[in-house]
């Protein structure tokens, strides 16, 4: 189509009628500032061309001036399909649509309302309207020619019919319409069965068929399981029948075995009872025999024991007599020993008392000697302490001078002396010899001078003289070092004086003297201390010595009180007392030993006497016991003999005979008893239990078989097989139907996709020329001829680059380059359309990212393109398009 004029009213900022145009067939520029309404003009035009007049969508309402309820009205005059047309459209209130055709010099209405809208879409090659408002995707090829402001710079999706058409035209593939329809029909039929992704169409025939198959399979499985259960029951029933028959035979056998064993067990039991009786008889006979034997042996033993006791009683009597004879001698010996013991004990006590008194006297004498010695020691210590105290008092008057300090003072004194000599040698020396007696003021001190006598004046560096009648003379030496020596000299003098003063000394000589005296006194005090320490001995000090002396005196007094010495005792020395004590102690020791020995003798005599007494008494008692025992034995003999009427030997022979008979009866019973008699009861019990178990098992199996029988009778009438047969038939049909539909679906897909695959392959073969075309346009726009554009077989752009290896994906290109590439694409489509029908390219501020250099290239390209395609540029950058094409007039 070519746009000629456009009029708007009640649209956006245009409340009144506004006329845009006329549009030239070539390049048109609508350059207005921002907010003027350029995009609104574009939107209104597209809404008028593509939306239903009756639409009340929000997009339509948004066309109205803000805050107004005006009805948007648009009139467009355009040429299309060889005719000149006028569209008059009014939305919302008073909605209307009219399509008029220029014929015979006047507008002639061809259609109105829905028909007008539909006719218009046909003229524009747009898809049939289904909703009231449409998206650009349904604009037909115009969706690729009319670039909207703020549209993302994305490569178009070649979707829908318009996408197919664009691809076909761009790739110059002459697609067979018949094939398109064929593929559409195949796809349509396939879509009823499978989705595009190959899944079953929900509620489609195949899904329903498969659901039916699944249902029937489930039903069949259930029936088969039931059938199998019945079969299993049949088999179990047969098995049980067979097992029960075998069990019956087993039961009979077991019962017979049990009966036979029971019979054997009863016989064995009888013999066992007989054996029991005979065993008891034998045992009793044996016991009787043994009893007789024991009695006979006892009788003989008792006789022997009684004889032995008689002999023992005679021995005991002899012993008692012998002991009785020893007793008087033993009593005499004891009395003698007791007397000697009493005498020895008395002597011993006297000697011990004498020894105690002698020891008390010795302690008193020792204490007296110790107290006396301590008193002497105390007097010596006090004298030594006095001497030492005097020496120490003299030493305290002298300063304590360390050798180091004294040495320091000696050094200072030498420094003073040496510096004074240096000053004297290096300092000023003025000799004044007045002609007549005079007084000279030297450094402020007047000094008389005798006439004619030279007086030497000295100073370290300077000297000021005032002479009467003459004035003041200042004499100054140039030697600086004298000053420094003087300073040293003065510092040494000052320090020595100060330190001596602090020590209370006048001079260094006094110090030297004091140090010598102190050394001498220190020398004296040392032996005094040693002597004092020796005198103190073990005592810590004089006070301790004094206390010890006091204690010793008290101890002496205490011992005196205890010992109470008489005059003779007082005359005896400690050594005398000690010698007497040792002698007496030795004597007392001997007496004590003698007393102990006598005591032991008494004890021995007493023990011998007691032993003899006990032996005599025991012998008498033993005689009595033996007599009693002998009497008892004789009584027992009498009793044993009284048990048997005849002789004991005859009784033994009778018992022996009874035992032999009982033994023979038992042997016969044992011979009759079966060898495994003891096992027979258990075997019989086991056989009975086994028979009972078999009975129980047979009962259980019979019960189980009856259960099976009931179940089988119930199931037998269910007709499971017939149900299975019917289900199988239905299932077969359902499976076939599902297979048929699946085959149909796969066949449809196979056919359709095979065609599409070849179609794509065909497109791929012609991509080269298209890539060449777009690459050339891009080179023209960007000024970079070395770059190429690459597509895939779906005409989607893969990227731009010098080669496939250097391909830059479209999305990674700059926004400006993408705009230019899209412009190239739009131009290519427009040129394709223009081969059949005038084409109109609208660019609503879509080249805003293009730089100034490329802008010129773009303008060159657009001018060339406008020779074949109508171009409408909506821009707010009038300067960029100045001098290009026709500036569109806007008339209000």
């Amino acid at each position: 189509m070519l746009i000629e004029t456009l009029e708007l009213e009640g649209v956006g900022p245009f409340r009144g009628r506004v006329s845009v145009g006329p549009f030239a067939p070539g390049l048109n520029v609508l350059a207005q500032h921002n907010e003027w309404g350029k995009s609104t003009v574009f939107k209104a035009m597209t809404r008028a061309l593509f939306d239903k007049y009756s639409s009340q969508s929000e997009e339509i309402k948004a066309l109205r001036p803000k805050g107004s309820s005006l009805s948007p009205q648009i009139e467009i005059v355009f040429t299309a399909r060889g005719g000149r047309w006028q569209l008059r459209k009014r939305f919302l209130d008073g909605k209307a649509s009219e399509l008029l055709r220029w014929a015979g010099g006047a507008w002639e209405r061809t259609d109105e309302s829905d028909k007008a809208d539909q006719h218009l879409r046909e003229l524009l090659g747009a898809q049939k309207l289904e909703g009231r408002t449409v998206k650009p995707e349904t604009w037909g090829l115009l969706r690729y020619l009319w670039a909207r402001q703020d549209e993302p710079a994305d490569w178009p999706a070649w979707d829908g019919a318009s996408g197919d058409e664009a691809r076909r035209r761009l790739a110059t593939v002459e697609l067979d319409h018949t094939l398109r329809a064929l593929v559409a029909r195949l796809d349509e039929q396939r879509a009823a069965i499978f989705t595009d992704s190959g899944r079953l169409k929900a509620k489609g025939p195949l899904e329903l068929a498969e659901q039916e198959v699944a249902r029937l399979e489930s039903e069949r499985t259930r029936l088969q399981e039931r059938h199998d259960e019945t079969e299993s029951l049949q088999q179990n029933f047969a098995r049980l029948s067979s097992e029960i028959a075998a069990l019956e035979i087993e039961r009979t056998r077991l019962r017979e075995e049990a009966a036979a064993l029971q019979k054997e067990a009863h016989a064995a039991e009888r013999w066992q009872q007989a054996i029991g009786v005979h065993s008891v008889d034998l045992k009793q006979a044996d016991e009787a025999l043994q009893q007789v034997r024991r009695d006979l042996q006892t009788h003989e033993r008792l006789a022997l024991e009684a004889a032995a006791l008689g002999e023992k009683m005679a021995e005991e009597k002899a012993t008692a007599r012998r002991v009785e004879e020893q007793l008087p001698g033993l009593e005499t010996a004891l009395a003698e020993a007791q007397r000697g013991g009493q005498s020895a004990q008395q002597s011993r006590e006297i000697e011990e008392r004498n020894l105690d008194r002698l020891r008390a006297l010795l302690r008193w004498r020792t204490a007296m000697d110790e107290a006396s010695a301590l008193s002497v020691q105390k007097a010596k210590v006090e004298a030594a302490q006095r001497t030492l105290r005097e020496v120490e008092e003299r030493r305290a008057t002298l300063p304590t001078l360390a050798v180091k300090r004294l040495q320091s003072w000696r050094e200072l004194e030498r420094t003073i002396r040496e510096s004074a000599a240096q000053i004297d040698a290096l300092g000023l020396r003025v000799t004044l010899t007045p002609d007549k007696a005079a007084t000279v003021e030297i450094d402020g001190h007047a000094q008389p001078f005798v006439a004619g006598e030279g007086e030497i004046l000295k100073a370290p560096q300077a000297m000021t003289l005032r002479l009467d009648g003459w004035g003041q003379i200042e004499i100054r030496s140039g030697a600086r070092e004298v000053g420094e020596i003087e300073a040293t000299h003065r510092a040494a003098e000052s320090r020595l004086g100060r330190e001596l003063g602090e020590a209370g000394l006048a001079t260094l000589a006094a110090a030297e003297s004091a140090a010598q005296q102190a050394a001498e006194l220190d020398q004296q005090s040392k032996p005094l201390r040693t002597t004092l320490a020796d005198l103190l001995g073990e005592q810590a000090d004089a006070a301790a010595l004094s206390a010890a002396t006091t204690r010793a005196q008290a101890s002496a007094e205490e011992q005196h009180r205890i010992a109470r010495p008489d005059e003779a005792d007082t005359a005896r020395t400690a050594n005398v007392l000690r010698n007497e004590e040792q002698a007496l102690a030795a004597k007392a020791k001997v007496s004590a030993r003698q007393a102990d020995e006598l005591a032991k003798e008494i004890e021995n005599a007493r023990a011998k006497l007691e032993t003899a007494h006990r032996a005599w008494t025991a012998s008498l008692a033993e005689q009595t016991t033996l007599a009693a025992r002998r009497t008892g034995l004789l009584d027992q003999q009498g009793l044993l003999a009284g048990r048997y009427p005849g002789e004991l030997a005859a009784a033994l022979a009778l018992a022996q005979s009874e035992f032999t008979r009982a033994e023979a009866r038992l042997a016969e019973a044992l011979r009759q008893l079966p060898a495994n008699a003891e096992k027979l009861p258990a075997r019989s019990t086991r056989a009975i239990n086994a028979a009972a178990d078999a009975d129980a098992e047979a009962e259980r199996k019979n019960r189980e078989r009856r259960d099976h029988e009931v179940q089988l009778r119930e199931r037998g009438g269910e007709g499971l097989y017939s149900l299975l047969a019917t289900t199988d038939e239905k299932l077969e049909l359902a499976r076939r139907e599902a297979a048929r539909i699946r085959t149909e679906g796969w066949a449809l897909r196979l056919a359709a996709e095979s065609i599409k695959r070849r179609e794509q392959r065909a497109i791929q073969t012609v991509l080269g020329p298209l890539e060449e075309r777009l690459s050339a346009v891009l080179a023209e726009l960007t000024g970079e001829p070395s770059r190429r554009v690459f597509f895939d077989e779906h005409l989607a752009i893969r990227g731009v680059g010098r080669s496939e290896d250097e391909l830059v994906p479209f999305d990674d290109l700059s926004r400006g380059t993408r705009e230019q590439l899209l412009l190239a694409l739009r131009a290519a489509i427009a040129l394709e359309i223009a081969k059949d029908e005038p084409a109109c390219l609208i660019l609503d501020d879509v080249l805003v990212h293009t730089d100034a250099v490329r802008q010129q290239n773009v303008l060159d390209f657009l001018q060339t393109l406008s020779q074949r395609v109508q171009i409408v540029i909506l821009t707010c950058h009038a300067d960029r398009y100045r001098g290009v094409g026709q500036l569109l007039a806007v008339t209000r």
């Binding site: 067979d176 319409h177 018949t178 094939l179 329809a181 064929l182 029909r185 195949l186 039929q189 992704s197 190959g198 059938h227 019945t230 029951l233 049949q234 088999q235 029933f237 047969a238 029948s241 099976h708 029988e709 179940q711 089988l712 009778r713 199931r715 037998g716 009438g717 269910e718 007709g719 499971l720 097989y721 017939s722 149900l723 299975l724 047969a725 199988d728 038939e729 239905k730 299932l731 077969e732 049909l733 076939r736 699946r742 085959t743 149909e744 796969w746 066949a747 449809l748 897909r749 196979l750 056919a751 996709e753 095979s754 065609i755 695959r757 070849r758 179609e759 065909a762």
Partner: protein, 392 residues
């Protein structure tokens, strides 16, 4: 002594391949049984023997069992002797022989529920029924054992069910019967059942009668009962097959590439049979255009309509005439290419790798790229193309 020897009636048999038509086939078997009984009554047979597998299964529907029982009751003058076979063994209280209505038998019906010998028309009928589905024991051995206890000069007829032990034709656990079982047991005739085709062995004394009503297309020598006459003991029985089968099963081919001749042949075949009792399967073969195949199918559907059951199986290969192919290639070369590829696929000329590629490109699963799918795809492609062209 005259016997009607039958076996393998398989009443209640499945015919799953026929779907809803299966019921027709099942009903036919009952009518066939009726015809057999009628014949027995007509010839005053001394016994109507059923040598196993009267029923397809022990759990057939009670209504079916009742129908058979009622049929037997109608022929009260025909002594009927039923031997349970491996399909309907005497295997417990649930088996149909021990429940109503067979639990209470009319006097002319005998069911052998255990091996036994009974006197029939002066001779002896010695039967050994099956009580399980499989066995490696020859069921005729028991008959021989029982026969040895009977008078030597009496006519002795054995009755059991199993497979003649023909090398490579029987399974060891399928009740093998020695090929000389009749003479070995001193029988005049051993009536057996199991296989569905008639077969005579042991010098004509051992006979498999075949199923009286065919059950599938490839069964030969079926559709009859055997009329057996035994004059005296020791004489070889006279056996005459009597056709009682209602349905004829035919499997024919139709060459779509030579449609006229095929039509003529098929019309002749159809003319030779009673269509209302025919179960027919026609396999389309050869190469032809879609139109020719469609035309053939349409013709067949019309011609086969009177048949009781007709199945058409299309194994034909779709081809275009040279002119059609040239036209297609010039007008729609792309479709021609696709058709060529589909033809290769249907002819099995594509390698596994080709099929993998095709599957990946078309989205049709590998297992879906079958010859039948390819055939169908060719047809649908041409059909839809025709529709589109006509619409244009």
């Amino acid at each position: 002594m005259k016997l009607i020897h039958s076996a393998d009636w398989q009443i209640g048999m499945r015919f799953r391949q026929f779907g809803a038509k299966a019921e027709v086939l099942r009903a036919a078997r009952l009518r066939t049984l009726q015809r057999g009984l009628e014949h027995a009554a007509t010839v005053f047979a001394d016994a109507f023997l059923i040598a196993g597998d009267l029923f397809e299964d022990n759990q057939v529907d009670a209504a079916v069992v009742r129908a058979v029982f009622d049929l037997f009751a109608e022929f009260s003058d025909v002594p009927i002797f039923i031997l349970p076979g491996n399909h309907d063994p005497v295997d417990g209280p649930g088996c149909l022989w021990r429940r109503a209505p067979f639990a209470q038998l009319p006097v002319h019906v005998t069911i052998f529920q255990k091996a036994s010998a009974i006197e029939v028309a002066g001779g002896w009928l010695i039967a050994n029924p099956l009580s399980q589905k499989k066995s490696t024991v020859d069921p005729s051995l028991k008959i021989a054992e029982l026969a040895a206890t009977l008078p030597a000069d009496a006519i002795k007829i054995g009755l059991t069910h199993g497979s003649p032990a023909i090398e490579s034709q029987h399974q060891p656990d399928d009740f093998p019967i020695a090929l000389d079982a009749a003479t070995r047991a001193g029988l005049d005739y051993l009536a057996i059942g199991h296989w569905h085709g008639a077969l005579a062995l042991d010098g004509g004394r051992l006979l498999m009668p075949g199923t009286p009503e065919q059950t599938k297309f490839d069964e030969a020598n079926a559709g009859a009962v055997q009329e057996v006459e035994i004059a005296v003991h020791g004489v070889v029985p006279k056996v005459t097959p009597v056709r009682v089968g209602e349905l004829m099963w035919h499997s024919w081919t139709f060459d779509v590439g030579n449609a006229d001749a095929a039509k003529a042949s098929l019309a002749q075949s159809l003319g030779a049979v009673a269509a209302e009792s025919v179960v027919v399967r026609v396999a389309l073969q050869g190469e032809a255009s879609p139109e020719a195949v469609a035309s053939a199918r349409a013709w067949l559907e019309t011609e086969l309509a009177p048949c009781l059951i007709a199945q058409i199986e299309d194994h034909s290969t779709l081809v275009l005439t040279a002119a059609e192919l040239a036209d297609l290639q010039s007008r729609h070369p792309l479709v021609a290419e696709v058709l060529a590829e589909l033809r290769d696929l249907s002819a099995g000329r594509l390698s596994a790798a080709d099929l993998q590629t095709l599957s990946a490109q078309t989205g049709v699963p590998f297992e879906g790229l079958t010859e039948s799918v390819a055939e169908y795809a060719q047809r649908v492609l041409l059909r839809e193309l025709r529709e589109v062209v006509n619409a244009c």
